[in-house]
């Protein structure tokens, strides 16, 4: 896996290449989450409530950029996503999506 995890109590990154992390408990907007990546630390201020098991951005993700989890592409951003924002079906689409925002709303 190559995950030298990267761990604090409240959230987990599944790979050091990821641009999202996953909440390990119900987190509230305004909370500060610290993630350890190798020898460095990343501090993220949450902009939304993030329920357990849900994702938040740990870097700014531009519209139509890839969303990376497990070190792999899990989809594309349907709009710009800021650090600390909830990342879910409202702002992410599958590469298999029939109607893709990033393909101009066309099949």
């Amino acid at each position: 896996m190559g995950v030298e995890s990267l761990q604090e109590r409240y959230a987990i990154m599944l790979s050091s290449d990821d641009n999202v992390a996953v909440a390990l408990k119900d987190l509230k907007a305004g909370e500060i989450v610290e993630l350890v990546i190798g020898n460095s630390k990343l501090v993220v201020k949450l902009l939304d409530d993030i329920p357990f098991g849900h994702k938040f951005a740990i870097r700014d993700i531009h519209m139509c950029d890839y969303v990376i989890k497990y070190g792999h592409v899990i989809g594309r951003a349907k709009r710009d996503i800021k650090v600390g924002e909830h990342v879910h079906v409202h702002n992410v689409e599958s590469l298999t999506a029939v109607y893709s925002v990033c393909r101009g709303g066309k099949p």
């Binding site: 896996m1 190559g2 995950v3 030298e4 995890s5 990267l6 761990q7 604090e8 109590r9 409240y10 959230a11 987990i12 599944l14 996953v22 909440a23 390990l24 408990k25 329920p51 357990f52 098991g53 849900h54 994702k55 969303v67 989890k69 497990y70 070190g71 792999h72 592409v73 899990i74 989809g75 990342v87 879910h88 079906v89 992410v92 689409e93 599958s94 590469l95 298999t96 029939v98």
Partner: protein
């Protein structure tokens, strides 16, 4: 650091098992009761009750035969008794001929050939099996290198903690076993939908990659032929509520349990895995069927992650049950071998839990019984693709 060793039963064909069962196997459902009655009376014996063996079209017949022969060839089995009825499609002699190639002791009883019917067949079988038990149960395990281990990885009763913690922890152990020269089998093709391109890029050759993509398409088309859309309906509403946003994310959370190493090959359901490293087997996502396929393909140990708590085992192979759900770890504690909820709770890293799990894998490969073994779970079911005829 010295390499870990396991306690293995070295079979005549050179394969290494970590258990030493006498397998009593029915060729058809009609002889399954006889098989079970024989196994019940002999120490070290276990029966697998074949639900098919008759009324099958050729493609399914092949799968059933391959599965039965694979179970018998698995090195966790020291000797085999084939129990036939006589008039069925899968003939005892055909299985015996294939199993004999391993060099392990094989006997058969065919009910319709024994004077007196099933009571006489049971008596004959018990006599043959007791004789075989003297030889097989006398074999002692030896210290052998861990690279002899063939580990199947499976998930069932998954929840949000499966992709988040349990599967990554198992993935860490998978990578470790592959790096030590062992074999890992990943299965459940329908759960690779959306991640097939990622897997194909990890294949050692174009040919292997193409097989992965083709197999995933086959399952999508098969479901579509029954009017079911496997792609558009995933992730399910429950998955979305749990935080999964796309089908790719869901599939990656499942395949992560196979680790991250190159994919050496792709085999059919119950086909023998003939090499080291990470392999993929084409099986349904139905967990018990998938476990049986991997064991028939040579898995001598299975690691099974479960969010909700699946108690299943296997007739001849230890199944290590892993959960990362703290509630399941507590409520189903008698069924769970390894508690990875420490990762979910942020108390342990994936790497730390993975190291702990790897130690347990070695212990089980040195004879430590799993909960499923202790509790007597021995589920057996064979994949089929066509209705019976």
């Amino acid at each position: 650091m010295s390499r870990p060793t396991i306690l293995g039963y070295v079979r005549p064909d050179g394969k290494v098992g970590i258990r030493n069962y006498l397998l009593v196997m029915s060729t058809v459902i009609c002889s399954s009761f006889v098989a079970r009655r024989i196994a019940d009376q002999v120490q070290g014996a276990v029966a697998i009750e074949n639900p098919f063996g008759c009324g099958q079209l050729e493609p399914d017949l092949e799968i059933t035969k391959r599965t039965l022969i694979g179970m018998a060839k698995n090195p966790n089995v020291g000797g085999v008794l084939v129990v036939g009825l006589g008039c069925e499609q899968i003939q005892a002699d055909e299985l015996v001929r294939e199993i004999e190639k391993t060099g392990k002791p094989v006997e058969k009883v065919v009910v319709q050939e024994v004077d007196g019917g099933t009571p006489a067949a049971i008596e004959r079988g018990v006599t043959l099996l007791r004789r075989m038990a003297e030889e097989v149960l006398s074999q002692r395990p030896e210290e052998v290198d861990i690279s002899n281990l063939v580990m199947g990885v499976e998930c069932g009763g998954s929840d949000a903690t499966s992709g988040l913690a349990a599967n990554p922890v198992v993935g860490y152990a998978s990578d470790k076993l592959v790096d030590l020269g062992g074999t890992v089998i990943l299965s459940e093709t329908p759960e690779m939908i959306g991640a097939e391109e990622i897997l194909a890029r990890r294949a050692v050759s174009r040919e292997v990659g193409d097989k992965i993509i083709k197999a995933v398409k086959k399952w999508i088309n098969l479901a579509a032929s029954y009017g079911v859309d496997l792609v558009g309906t995933q992730p399910s509403p429950g998955n979305i509520a749990g935080g999964l946003s796309t089908i790719e994310e869901k599939s990656l959370g499942a395949i992560i349990k196979g680790g991250s190493r190159p994919i050496q090959g792709f085999v059919d359901y119950a086909e023998e895995v003939r090499g080291k490293g990470l392999w993929i087997m084409d099986t349904p996502g139905y967990d018990i069927m998938s476990v049986v396929g991997m064991v028939a393909g040579g898995a001598t140990l299975v690691v099974f992650t479960t969010g909700r708590g699946t108690p299943t085992g296997n007739p001849i192979t230890p199944v290590i049950k892993v959960t990362a759900n703290p509630y399941t770890a507590k409520k189903m504690r008698e069924n769970i071998d390894f508690d990875a909820s420490t990762v979910t709770l942020g108390q342990e890293t994936i790497e730390q839990a993975g190291e702990r799990l790897f130690k347990l894998i070695i212990d089980v490969a040195r004879g430590k019984p799993t909960r499923a073994e202790l509790l007597g779970f021995r589920e057996f079911v064979i994949h089929k693709i066509i209705p019976s005829f």
